[in-house]
């Protein structure tokens, strides 16, 4: 596949933004969090609404920024694989110690009485990768869309009571078309990432992913009955679902058993959702 297209997949050095840019991004996000808190406080002040105490606002800002910075620190502690560093050094005329060849033909060096890789003096960190940034950006845009725009308000209203939404003067049919179009666009983005990650694509790419997606959204607090749910909930749900799947792969569980577990999680999540919505009524 095209090298430029592969940047979307996050598998090649060109799609790693590195530690410096990761920190810059993190600080920009922290600034956005703090500005958001200040702005909402100013808005509420303008209309004389009850305010949160100042320490609570500060606490929220600190926790939000700490989460962002901690995540960035984790991302920035992954070094490039040493072969790629060697290639990078050769391409950019950076000299690294020649070392001595071991039995496998890899160059090794000695440092403080220990055998180390010769590239250890020269480290590059991956930082955030392009697909991760795309996912976060999509999450942010969708959060904005669902909570701050008329479109999002209508989506929730239609989910809660389609008849009432129509009577309130919302063009529900047109709204549903727009929702499906949005879903198509999001699937398109995920297909780009998926195919460039695999560096290959078939017409059955993403088959049965819908099960994971449904499980992730329901785990994230979205009601299947409609009208209830959040974007960040769905993203946390997706993270959890993917953790389960990755964990099972690491445990070397057979694919068939993995599917059983995913199915069981889905059924449990839907059961809990039903139980919850019945209790609310």
């Amino acid at each position: 596949m095209d090298k430029t297209f592969e940047i979307f997949g996050g598998g090649i050095p060109a799609s790693w933004i590195g530690d410096t840019w990761s920190w810059i991004l993190a600080f920009v996000v922290c600034a956005m969090i703090i500005l958001g808190i200040i702005n909402s406080r100013r808005q509420r002040l303008r209309f004389h609404f009850p305010l949160r105490p100042v320490w609570a606002e500060v606490f929220l800002g600190v926790v939000g920024s700490a989460v962002v910075l901690a995540t960035t620190a984790v991302m920035n502690s992954y070094p490039w694989p040493f072969k790629l560093i060697e290639n990078y050094a050769i391409e950019n005329n950076i000299t690294i110690p020649a070392g001595i060849e071991n039995r496998d033909g890899d160059a090794i060096c000695m440092a403080a009485e220990k055998v180390v890789r010769c590239t250890d003096g020269f480290i590059l960190y991956t930082g955030y990768t392009v697909p991760v940034i795309i996912a976060l950006a999509v999450g942010l845009v969708m959060m904005f869309l669902s909570t701050r725009t008329q479109f999002g308000r209508y989506v929730y209203a239609i989910g809660g009571n389609p008849e009432a939404a129509e009577l309130a003067g919302i063009n529900t049919k047109w709204m549903i078309v727009k929702v499906f179009a949005l879903m198509g666009a999001l699937v398109g983005i995920s297909a780009v990432i998926s195919s460039s990650r695999l560096n290959a694509a078939t017409n059955a790419l993403g088959l049965s992913n819908e099960l994971y997606v449904i499980a992730a959204t329901v785990i994230g607090g979205t009601s299947l009955a409609g009208g209830v749910g959040t974007i960040y909930g769905a993203m946390i749900g997706a993270l959890m679902m993917q953790s389960i799947i990755s964990g099972m792969s690491l445990l070397n569980l057979a694919a068939a058993y993995q599917n059983i577990v995913v199915g069981a999680v889905l059924v449990t999540a839907v059961y809990l959702d039903q139980l919850y919505s019945r209790r609310v009524k």
């Binding site: 808005q43 509420r44 303008r46 209309f47 609404f49 904005f144 701050r148 725009t149 008329q150 308000r153 929730y156 209203a157 989910g159 809660g160 009571n161 008849e163 009432a164 939404a165 129509e166 009577l167 309130a168 003067g169 919302i170 063009n171 009208g227 209830v228 609310v280």
Partner: protein, 255 residues
């Protein structure tokens, strides 16, 4: 004679083989309360749902100030200042009171995003007038009591300078005190020159508040009368038997 604010002429709608509304004509003047009476299934709710744009009519015309207006959906009706409080309230249960109040005509900031704070501020003002004890602005309306939900629905109908207000069983979910409050509100709106269609099962409610009544039976108008010209018994006779008394103008449904 003055031109009526709203005139529905020869309206019909059929669901399958059943004629829910059968060649009904009805009019409403500014500052007038028109009580719509009839059995369950007489076609009252269907008739007003045609006016509010919820149902497309099969035949008939609607005039406002003597000019014909086109109502194909609820948006058209609202554009002409026809607001409705439905029997089912038609609230979006999962969003809060302010969102319901402005559903379909949200306030926006300069950036085109929702101005939630302004909407909430406005909502607090309106709700304070209707229901001073209302405090639960942040909760979805599904968590509110029947009376509170009703006041949200009423607030939504009167907040946007309605010219015609349709109230379908506005007091069904309310206690005696709130019912009296709604009665006061109707008188106040009437004084402002708003025309009101009032649908109720409670004959006393209607005779107390309405200026004229229109009785329907089996989708047809039995008769229209000034409230003072007919007695309670005569109205009951119209509703149950379809018998039109002398004080009323007989419609096609009278025997």
């Amino acid at each position: 004679m003055k031109t009526p604010l709203i005139e529905m002429r020869d309206i019909s709608i059929a669901f399958g083989g059943i004629k829910a509304v059968d060649h009904v004509s009805i009019d409403l003047h500014p500052g007038e309360v028109m009580g719509l009476l009839g059995h369950n299934g007489a076609g009252k709710s269907t008739l007003i749902k045609i006016l509010s744009g919820a149902y497309p009519r099969d035949t008939g015309k609607i005039f406002m100030d003597g000019k014909e207006i086109a109502i194909h959906n609820p948006r058209d009706a609202k554009a002409h200042g026809i607001e409705t409080i439905y029997q089912t309230l038609a609230l979006a249960d999962n969003v809060d009171a302010a969102a319901n109040l402005y559903l379909g005509r949200e306030l926006k900031t300069a950036f085109g995003t929702l101005d939630d704070v302004a909407m909430e501020a406005e909502c607090r003002k309106v709700m304070h007038r209707l229901n001073p004890n209302f405090r639960r602005f942040k909760e979805p309306v599904s968590k509110l009591s029947g009376g509170q939900r009703q006041s949200v629905a009423i607030a939504r109908a009167i907040h946007f300078n309605a010219r015609v207000l349709i109230m379908d069983e506005p007091t069904a979910a309310l206690g005696p005190q709130e019912t009296a409050q709604v009665g006061e509100l109707i008188k106040q709106l009437k004084a402002e020159g708003i025309g009101i269609f009032l649908i109720s099962h409670d004959l006393h409610d209607v005779t107390d508040l309405a200026d004229r009544i229109c009785v329907m039976k089996n989708g047809q108008v039995v008769g229209t009368a000034k409230v003072d010209d007919v007695t309670h018994d005569e109205i009951l006779g119209m509703i149950i038997a379809g018998k039109c008394p002398e004080g009323a103008v007989a419609g096609p449904g009278a025997i």
